[in-house]
Symmetry: C2
Subunit: 352 residues, 2 copies
DNA sequence: ATGAAAGCGCTAACAG
DNA sequence: CTGTTAGCGCTTTCAT
């Protein structure tokens, strides 16, 4: 890209307000009119040449395209969006990009979005309702074409409201209404697998470190359903620190517990830390099973037994489904919203 | 936000092309004119009320603001951007969000950007020159106000060219020109610390697993400068797999090596894997020092000795410096570009 | 303190 | 196949 400076050469460059010579300072915007003039056609023709809409002779198109190159012309998204209402942007709302689960998903989102020509704007919410709706509003105002959301605090009504204003796919959460598309890991199965594994290993007293802030609690419900009544569950933030605190509390109150199921790998790591501080060996004295199968799970000490989900695939699928919603809304084809469930699988390593 | 549904109630909602009742389908856009009409003022007054520009009576302002709430009006960024040339967006270009280093930085970027009212669009490049310039172009076209770039493939000239078109801060790379702002970790010191540590532990034969794709190679140069001539360096992708491959090759060719310095923690993890596969104990047979101090570094097996950098702070600082550039360009104040260097510190754990 | 006019850069309808 | 006419929704002069 970028040969020479901006202003090119051809034609007399009759650009009203130019800074005279080429010593480029304020970088005057090259508009479609400049290109049209330089190529000796109308703006419409330039527009056609760029967008491949309408008929155009191959010859003119080539000439226009060449002129565009020459002038280093870049269409203004603002002006274009004004007509088309399309920004070529997707919003991605998540609670914490620093939680390794999300970058893995984000990678899938970015790749799939790029393939479709979308840019992705990311918003971090820390699972605060206020931040979640602020993010949604921001994205809306910026004219994004669609939103992918890991909402953990907003209620279903808010999501339905958002869905009315913009194509939306909710991630890892039950759809707030049948009309709202969703993609989600199969947490119920994943959790059941984890619990059954612990039970098969002979653990009679289990406990769960829950990290869910939100409304859904699929993992917790599945855990409760699969274990004896009154099996302890302690809730804390889904972080290493949260896991450590939750484990400390749970084992303080229930010393008989020998098997811990954590909401995610981060909490599992925290639990392992806490266990060791209390002089308990993992897995000999207490087994730990995580959730997510983070990249480094196998390299931890001990290697973490965890539930694997394909996070990249989740991201990819999210975009695919969102694209469907975007198109459906565009064509006003009342295509039904998709609801996909991605598989989960247990990975047995040494921690549990 | 969002009490009730979208369309509010007050005023006669004289919206030309509405879908009649509240069963909201196509969601007609509420424009500034709708607000003006409903509030019984002109659009300018509405604009003033929103933007706090120009004089306005507190009374009218309140009334207008109320109407805005009621109608759930959201100004169009497209229309606004067309006049102001501001999108309230920053671009963040990085090679791989799945590498845990970047999310940590990104967190800082998001937080600082949000505090300044900016949205962040993220582009993943895999360190490909083509993708890096494509990302830059995308960001440019979308009218971002500034760009933060971890460029690993683009040449200095391209960066200078980009700098001419948009406020730019380069991250973890020497500024391509004095006029281009930069923020970077002190890799030279960090690397020296790592090498000296290994040497102090009595390792006579070191090796480096380099992961740099780019142009800068600060870590490699610092390593070479601090070690004996002909100390081996093997280059591979900065990933676990890359680190494993590089370690296997390096130790195959130089079995005498007992101390490995890795470009980053991911490569260090790969090295540890490779070492073990070859039956070498870490750190007894071969020490390994990483770089970055990822969140999980302390929980690895063995806990990873590594160079710590404050990634969140890096992200925060990048935004701060970029904001400076944005303002400087706005005021045409020829404020000099900042160049900041963030400290690095060795964290000794068990791997090396 | 408020309103009227003008126009940002582009594309969608129509002409021709 | 190409050009002309409008106008997207907002802010910026300039009047009042």
């Amino acid at each position: 890209m970028d040969e020479g400076t901006a202003m090119g050469n051809g034609a007399d460059g009759a650009n009203g307000a130019n800074g005279a010579d080429g010593s480029a300072a304020g970088t005057v915007r090259v508009t479609i009119d400049d290109v049209a003039r330089a190529a000796g056609v109308s703006r419409q023709t330039v527009s056609r040449a760029m967008n491949g809409k309408g008929e155009i002779s191959a010859a003119t198109r080539r000439r226009v395209l060449a002129t565009i190159e020459e002038l280093d012309y870049r269409p203004s998204m603002f002006a274009r969006g004004m007509r088309t209402h399309r920004a070529g942007t997707l919003g991605l709302i998540l609670s914490d990009i620093a939680n390794p689960f999300f970058p893995a998903v984000a990678r899938g989102v970015f790749d799939a979005a790029a393939a479709l020509g979308f840019s992705v704007v990311v918003h971090n919410t820390d699972a605060h309702a206020g931040r979640e709706s602020a993010a949604a509003r921001e994205i809306l105002e910026r004219g994004a074409e669609g939103v992918i959301g890991f909402f953990e605090a907003l209620g279903d009504e808010e999501l339905v409201g958002l869905h009315r204003r913009v194509p939306l796919v909710v991630a890892d959460r039950r759809a707030p209404a049948p009309g709202v598309a969703s993609v989600s890991s199969d947490f119920a199965t994943g959790t059941r697998l984890a619990v059954e594994h612990l039970q098969a290993r002979g653990h009679r007293h289990l406990g769960m470190l829950d990290g869910a802030v939100g409304v859904d609690h699929v993992r917790r419900h599945a855990f409760t359903a699969a274990t004896a009544p009154r099996t302890p569950v302690v809730t804390a933030p889904p972080t290493i620190t949260g896991g450590a605190a939750a484990a400390a509390q749970l084992l303080g109150e229930h010393p008989e517990v020998t098997g811990l199921f954590a909401f995610n790998d981060l909490m599992a790591v925290g639990a392992i830390r806490a266990l060791r501080e209390r002089g308990r060996r993992v897995p000999d004295d207490c087994a730990v099973v995580g959730y997510d199968d983070l990249t480094l799970a196998a390299d931890l000490d001990p290697p973490l037994t965890t539930v694997h989900t394909d996070k990249y695939e989740l991201g990819r699928t999210l975009v695919e489904v969102l694209d469907g919603v975007v198109r459906a809304r565009r064509d006003e084809s009342g295509a039904a919203a998709e609801h996909r469930l991605l598989p989960a699988a247990l990975v047995v390593r040494r921690s549990g």
